[in-house]
């Protein structure tokens, strides 16, 4: 145990812990990319529903599977690697491939029957209208 001149307990690691806290705070806002985060999505909210877009370049629509249960949307799929012919060799290979699944909960229920998906220019766009029974209802006032 260390004591300082004024009799207080001296902690030699206080500075280190302070530094650690500062570093943690610094990195707390950094987006961490893990396998679960593919594909990257943008979620748009409107009065009557949601639009979800996902960056999925070079995926065959046959390999894409979108499902909606209640308020949960799941995008599943696979990106296949390019087949290269014998006699061809890679100089660099950065484009990844493999299976992916991404699920997320929307703030409100959506009408699964009315969901539409569209795939253009490597971007998947899913339009999800809010469920009819979940929409806000206007209550008419009666005057006596």
């Amino acid at each position: 145990m260390f004591w300082t001149l004024n009799g207080k307990e001296f902690d030699p690691f206080a500075e280190v812990r302070q530094l650690q806290r500062e570093m943690n705070r610094l990195f707390a806002d950094m987006p961490t990319r893990s396998a679960q985060d593919f594909p990257a999505v943008n979620v748009w909210t409107g009065q009557n529903g949601y639009v979800v877009t996902a960056e999925l370049p070079g995926v065959s629509t046959d390999e894409l599977d979108i499902s909606v249960i209640g308020d949960t949307v799941t995008i599943k799929g696979e990106r296949r690697p390019d087949e290269i012919a014998p006699g061809e060799s890679y100089h660099r290979r950065e484009r990844g491939f493999g299976k992916f699944t991404r699920s997320f909960k929307l703030p409100r229920r959506v009408d699964a029957k009315e969901v539409q998906a569209e795939y253009r220019k490597g971007i998947l766009k899913v339009t999800l209208p809010r469920a009819e029974e979940d929409k806000p209802k206007r209550i008419p006032l009666k005057t006596a």
């Binding site: 985060d37 409107g46 877009t53 012919a85 890679y90 100089h91 290979r93 990844g96 493999g98 220019k121």
Partner: protein
């Protein structure tokens, strides 16, 4: 889900030194495959959201430049609730190791993937030299 899948995400980039972009749009380095066979080089670049009219491919003294632009998305009456990716420009340059027949370069874009075929010039193609016995 495999580890490779994370490598599908596009990565941010900076322009080469001494140049500065004029518009304030985000800039990305497209993830690219390059492969070669006897006849040609193939460059395959992921550029999600890129419009085919915005794609610019140039070869200058064996330097291949590929650029493209994805327009910002917006949906009427909707607000962005969660944003994980941005739209912007893609830029990438490669130094090609052999002479390219610039006239015969072909490029296609489909589903956000740009494919460029760069045929080697005749001088650069491998030749078989027959050895005669004296």
């Amino acid at each position: 889900m495999t580890r490779e899948s994370t490598e599908l995400q596009k990565v941010g980039t900076a322009l080469p030194a001494k140049t500065e972009k004029t518009e304030s749009v985000p800039l990305f380095t497209p993830r690219t495959d390059v492969y070669e066979n006897e006849a040609a080089f193939h460059v395959v670049a992921d550029m999600p959201g890129v419009d085919e009219r915005s794609i610019d491919i140039q070869v200058d003294h064996n330097v291949l430049s590929v650029a493209g632009r994805a327009e910002a998305e917006s949906f009427e009456g909707h607000e962005l609730e969660l944003g994980e990716y941005l739209n912007g420009s893609f830029v990438r340059q490669f130094t090609l190791p052999v002479d390219i027949d610039v006239e015969k370069i072909e490029a296609t874009v489909r589903d956000g993937v740009v494919r460029i075929r760069l045929p080697k010039s005749d001088e650069a193609k491998p030749r078989k030299i027959t050895v005669r016995s004296a």
